[in-house]
């Protein structure tokens, strides 16, 4: 057998751990052997260890949570989910399932469709279809960004105090003259844009 199949067999044996095992220890390779250590362990911890017998007895008392059970999912990467979509079948559906055991050529298209819908929720076409939700999301985000403009304007008017006096026209004029007088960045920067001979900004 191939690598894949032997791997699966190991998986399968691991799953069937609730079957009774004489020594109380089920090893991964499937042999419930009677090794010395495991025998000693089962003798010591008969009550403390949760043996397979103990687990089965507890099963009737504990409520099984639905999230612990295999669930259905529509996923492109998982064509055959763990469980069928419809769990409880009606009488007609049960009858159809019986008919499914016979030749499928005797089923008409409606019955085949019904069988499909029992097992699966959405077809690939349905699960892959896009929606227009992105328009709602983008539009909503942009609207709220736009509304914040009002908040910013109100804030500017009612929250912020006056701008410092050093931003007034007179002051910035004096400031500019001082920057030119001290030849700030004369090569490529500020003062390089001023024509000192004509006393004006270079064209």
């Amino acid at each position: 057998t191939t690598l894949f199949r032997s791997g699966h067999a190991r998986w399968f044996r691991a799953v069937s751990s609730l079957s009774p095992c004489p020594s109380g220890v089920l090893r991964a390779d499937g042999s419930g052997g009677r090794m010395l250590a495991s025998r000693a362990l089962s003798l010591i911890g008969k009550r403390t260890l949760s043996t397979s017998v103990g687990l089965r007895a507890h099963a009737g008392v504990v409520k099984v949570e639905s999230y612990t059970l295999p669930s259905y999912e529509d996923n492109r990467a998982v064509p055959l989910p763990d469980v069928a979509y419809v769990g409880q079948l009606t009488a007609e559906q049960n009858a159809l399932k019986e008919k499914e055991k016979g030749s499928w050529t005797s089923l008409n298209n409606n019955e085949k469709l019904e069988l499909y819908r029992i097992k699966f929720h959405e077809s690939y076409a349905q699960m892959n279809q896009g929606s227009n939700e992105w328009k709602t999301v983008c539009g909503g985000a942009l609207i709220f960004i736009g509304l914040t403009a009002f908040i910013v304007l109100w804030q500017r008017k009612y929250v912020y105090g006056p701008v410092p006096h050093t931003f007034s026209e007179d002051w910035t004029a004096m400031q500019t003259k001082r920057m030119l007088d001290m030849r700030m960045n004369p090569i490529q920067g500020f003062a390089s844009k001023w024509d000192y001979d004509k006393n004006e900004w270079k064209k």
């Binding site: 894949f4 492109r76 064509p79 005797s106 089923l107 469709l113 097992k119 699966f120 690939y124 349905q126």
Partner: protein, 155 residues
């Protein structure tokens, strides 16, 4: 010690993962075949694992699905694994899978398998019709309807 570390690193570098080679035989785009020029290959750091040929891969999967007493779990596990690979399965593998569905009295899964094959082909629209064409005798024999016949290809 410097020596053991450097040899370990060297070994790790030599063992760097191979570029996943395409197994599917349905090449609708140009793909370098696995037996490309040895000169170029020698310079790459492919893994030292044995490389399975396409035929071996197909045969392995056909054998898997042809198991006479295959159970539902094995069918699901097989299909979900196969769909996880970066390839569109050969019609003969799908044929074996459909027959496994028949043994399990599971028509819905058979239709789902066809949908999955179409989905795997992605933008290569010519692959699925080819697969259906190859499977037509089996589909008629088993009575499996294609998703198109049932209107499942429309959302």
């Amino acid at each position: 010690d410097a020596l053991p570390i450097s040899t370990m690193l060297g070994a790790a570098l030599r063992r760097c993962a191979s570029v996943g080679s395409l197994r599917g035989l349905l090449h609708s785009r140009l793909v370098p075949p696995s037996t490309s020029s040895p000169v170029a290959v020698a310079a790459r750091c492919y893994s030292h694992a044995k490389h399975e040929s396409d035929e071996e891969f197909d045969a392995r999967w056909v054998t898997y699905f042809n198991k006479p007493d295959i159970d539902a779990w094995e069918l699901r596990k097989g299909m979900n694994t196969l769909i996880g690979y970066d390839l569109v399965p050969e019609p003969k593998i799908i044929d074996a899978a459909l027959r496994a569905c028949r043994r399990l009295n599971d028509l819905a899964s058979a239709i789902r398998i066809l949908e999955a094959v179409k989905d795997k082909a992605g933008p290569h629209k010519d692959i699925y019709p080819y697969v259906i064409q190859e499977l037509r005798p089996t589909l008629d024999e088993l009575g499996v309807a294609t998703p198109e016949e049932l209107g499942l290809d429309k959302a």
